[in-house]
């Protein structure tokens, strides 16, 4: 049992992933076709990309509820800026704006000592409001068709968002496991007081983490905007739930200190598989929210069972 739970923490999502694939390949003859699979993976990129950021935040002991609002803000900025300064600069400036929101989050949390939950909850509505104000309350159509390449174009037959996801995965993997910064993030999430006593710049680390989460939200917002060519101030309400689900389902402990990026990657695609499966059995699109909620509940349940079980074992003096 102990071995199983420890293994689950590492590769649990992978098991779901395989089971899901087997199920879908039996249920749908179309599933095992290359473009179907690529399509599912491409649809999983939002969850995975924001999930990477969220994984970092939760590893640091934090939490960011404002990501879907940041996606919307990015979407609005891009659609306004593209006609003014061109596509590359519009993307760049919008991502900077997104990151700036993260910095504000981080500053409020570290300098004003407000809890991440409250801060980002408030920022979620504030940023959503800003997005609506900047957009004048309406959707903004983008005329430059070229921008569509970002989210819907293909390179060598593979949708571009998948490349973006893979590159970000590599960057995050490196960041979390092979840099001093990543080690510091884990330390802060594991025991903040101990990190402080060890001379780590805890506040700065936290601010960086929130900047990075918002940046990933900006990337996800950019991809989604490009797919519709519309700047949408009401984009993706409740998407934060997906990001958190992906992170927890992937095996990152809600208690902080341990991030599992591989898990986040697979969980992102797994959520997309669920959507595909629901589509397959003809369930309407708005049931997707419900399904994500159920998966989140399940992931939290397993997370709780695991930590309680290991705790009990330890209390009984058993080596785990």
């Amino acid at each position: 049992m102990i071995k199983f739970l420890k293994l689950y923490e590492k590769i649990g999502i992978f098991i779901f992933f395989v089971l899901g694939s087997i199920f879908l390949s039996i249920a749908s003859p179309n599933f095992l076709r290359g473009d179907t699979i690529l399509n599912i993976v491409a649809q999983g990129t939002y969850g995975a990309v924001v999930g990477f950021g969220m994984t970092l935040a939760i590893t640091s002991g934090g939490f960011d509820l404002s990501v879907d609002a940041v996606m919307a803000l990015t979407s609005v900025f891009i659609s306004i800026l593209i006609p003014l300064i061109g596509i590359p600069f519009a993307i760049l400036i919008s991502l900077i704006v997104a990151s700036f929101v993260g910095m504000v989050n981080g500053l409020i949390i570290t300098k004003l000592r407000v809890s991440p939950l409250i801060t980002t909850l408030a920022m979620m509505t504030i940023i959503r409001g800003v997005a609506l104000i900047v957009a004048g309350g309406k959707q903004i159509v983008i005329q430059q068709k070229l921008f569509m390449e970002v989210g819907t174009g293909k390179t060598l037959g593979v949708p571009n968002p998948i490349y973006i996801m893979i590159v970000l995965f590599a960057v995050f993997y490196f960041l979390l496991y092979h840099t001093a910064f990543g080690r510091h993030v884990s330390a802060v999430g594991s025991n903040e007081s101990a990190a402080k006593i060890s001379g780590l710049k805890v506040d700065l680390i936290k601010i960086f983490v929130f900047v990075i989460v918002s940046f990933t939200a900006g990337v996800a917002g950019t991809i989604r905007t490009s797919q519709t060519l519309i700047g949408i101030p009401t984009m993706s309400p409740g998407f934060v739930l997906v990001a958190i689900t992906v992170t927890i389902l992937g095996g990152t402990s809600l208690a902080g200190g341990r991030g599992n990026l591989w898990g986040t990657l697979f969980a992102g695609v797994f959520i997309s598989m669920i959507y595909y499966g629901l589509n397959l059995i003809g369930v309407q699109i708005f049931y997707q929210m419900l399904s994500v909620g159920i998966v989140l509940l399940f992931a939290l349940f397993i997370d709780g069972v695991r930590s309680r079980y290991l705790e009990t074992m330890r209390a009984k003096g058993i080596k785990v």
């Binding site: 007081s193 060890s198 200190g257 785990v320």
Partner: protein, 511 residues
């Protein structure tokens, strides 16, 4: 004799998957007896008392309580029979009042037996607290009480149940010397009333002072029971560790004045805690600081490390004036710090042994300012520290929480040594560590000092303060009350100085 017997365990065994926690233990208690239960961590003490407390049930063996065969299936059942256990971790609810906690689950009711009779619960609680002679307001919330008073509330709760047997697990770990005295009086009183007490403690001298008999457990087995008056600490320690510990405090102590001064602290003050303290720290010495709660020792040590700000004062390091305003300042100067609360401010519980040791210097072990951790160099630095401290673990990737307290402490000390620290500040270096590991930590401290590292330490365990440091400074209410050298150090004088007895009355060097 037999009618005095309250409790007897015969051949009690408890097995958890992969480990025999309690292995065929026989044990007996008389009415009105104080029986000390000692053993290193993992010896089976906790499991044994949890069996008596109804948390675990034995796999085999008999429990005879008041001449009846019993097995307790719940805490409630064990309490009904007249056993109460005061666990090391408190079982008080912080957001309820003292009175509510004392009578929880047994609140006096009124009106159809549905509503709590507040008047009665508070007055009943007052009666119990008066019996203990403690000044605690029954209507106060637990969360507002200091730890020592919470301990007293736990005891009051046990008393209010009219227990025949009270089991205390490390009750003095969080108490000051004065409160310990108070507790001992209470235990004596209980003994005279015919209440039996099982007393578990790491502090052997307490066991000797209090108990009628001492039972030693090791690896789940009972090693033996001795009448306290007829045995020695040496014998008990030998029974506990299974081998002869040559000297509890090893190493040669030297007079500090023969060495160079590495640091001088002048007129150091911390708001509300420390007032105008000056002292010198010599190279390669172990300097002890003694003081009861409120003496300022804890704050002084923490402030020297830069973790809390000072109000005024100067620090000279190797003759040059330095500023220590932050933890980073002091680390840069070569300071290391080990906290008194290993679990909450020491270890990084989710991380491996390796990462716990290297966290402070990880940035130095990279290419390009923080990018690309050099795994090989990290391992190498770690191995050096590991060899120096003899840390035991299965692999460097093992999570630190799975190590014993002693090994965890070595990891935390290792974290400071890896920075090539030259001044090591240790708060409670051996708290919550078993006897064998304690001796090892003491040996390590002496070795480090011999290598030229200057150590500043404090401890709530008197023998540690009396026997380990080369010098010991006593603080009382933020002032230096006395200083002892290795020749003038003496347990009684140290205690006297700590509780503020006039310097002239004790033959320590007055300042």
């Amino acid at each position: 004799m037999h009618d005095r017997e309250l409790l007897r365990l015969e051949n009690v065994t408890k097995i958890f998957p992969g480990v025999v926690a309690v292995d065929g233990v026989d044990f007996d208690m008389n009415r009105g007896e104080v029986h000390a239960l000692v053993g290193e961590n993992g010896a089976g003490k906790s499991t044994l008392i949890k069996i008596l407390g109804g948390i675990y049930q034995p796999d085999s063996g008999r429990i005879i309580f008041e001449d009846q065969d019993v097995v307790f299936y719940s805490t409630h059942q064990s309490q009904e029979s007249g056993i109460s256990v005061i666990y090391q971790e408190f079982n008080l609810i912080p957001d309820l009042s003292v009175a509510e906690n004392i009578f929880i689950g047994r609140e006096p009711k009124r009106i159809l037996n549905r509503f709590i009779n507040w008047k009665k619960i508070n007055s009943d609680a007052q009666v119990v607290l008066d019996r203990l002679d403690v000044q605690i307001d029954p209507s106060e919330f637990i969360s507002e009480l200091p730890v020592a008073e919470r301990q007293m509330v736990e005891i009051a709760k046990a008393l209010s149940i009219e227990s025949k047997l009270i089991i205390m697990d490390e009750p003095t770990a969080t108490l000051t010397e004065k409160e310990v005295r108070k507790l001992f009086e209470i235990i004596d009183g209980l003994r005279n009333e015919g209440v039996s007490i099982i007393y578990i403690s790491h502090r052997l001298e307490e066991a000797f002072e209090l108990s009628d008999r001492i039972t030693v457990l090791r690896d789940g087995k009972k090693i033996g029971t001795r009448i306290s008056a007829n045995t020695t600490e040496g014998e008990i320690i030998e029974m506990m560790v299974g081998k002869v510990v040559k000297s509890y405090f090893s190493g040669e102590r030297r007079a500090s004045e023969e060495r160079d001064v590495i640091m001088e602290v002048k007129n150091y003050s911390i708001a509300d805690h420390v007032d105008d303290v000056s002292f010198k720290l010599y190279k390669g010495e172990i300097l002890g600081f003694a003081g009861i709660l409120g003496s300022g020792v804890h704050h002084l040590l923490k402030s020297l490390y830069g973790a809390i700000p000072r109000k005024s004062g100067e620090i000279f390091f190797e003759g040059k004036p330095v500023r220590i305003d932050t933890v980073r300042d002091s680390i840069r100067l070569g300071f290391g710090y080990v906290t008194e609360d290993r679990k909450n401010t020491g270890i990084l519980p989710d991380m491996s042994v390796l990462h716990n040791v290297t966290i402070i210097i990880i940035k130095m072990l990279t290419f390009f300012r923080g990018l690309f951790i050099k795994d090989a160099r990290e391992k190498e630095s770690f191995e050096r520290i590991r060899g120096r401290l003899n840390i035991r673990f299965t692999e460097p990737g093992q999570k630190i929480i799975y190590l014993s307290g002693g090994n965890q402490q070595k990891v935390v000390i290792g974290r400071t040594l890896i920075t090539d620290c030259r001044v090591l500040i240790l708060q409670e270096p051996t708290r919550g560590i078993d006897v064998g590991a304690k001796a090892e930590i003491h040996r390590i401290m002496r070795e480090l000092a011999n290598q030229g590292i200057s150590i500043i330490m404090t401890s709530s365990e008197l023998p540690e303060l009396v026997n380990l440091p080369d010098r010991c400074i006593v603080l009382y209410k933020g002032h230096i009350a006395a200083e002892f050298t290795k020749d003038t150090m003496d347990e009684e004088k140290l205690v006297a100085a700590q509780i503020g007895q006039k310097v002239g009355d004790i033959s320590g060097e007055s300042l």
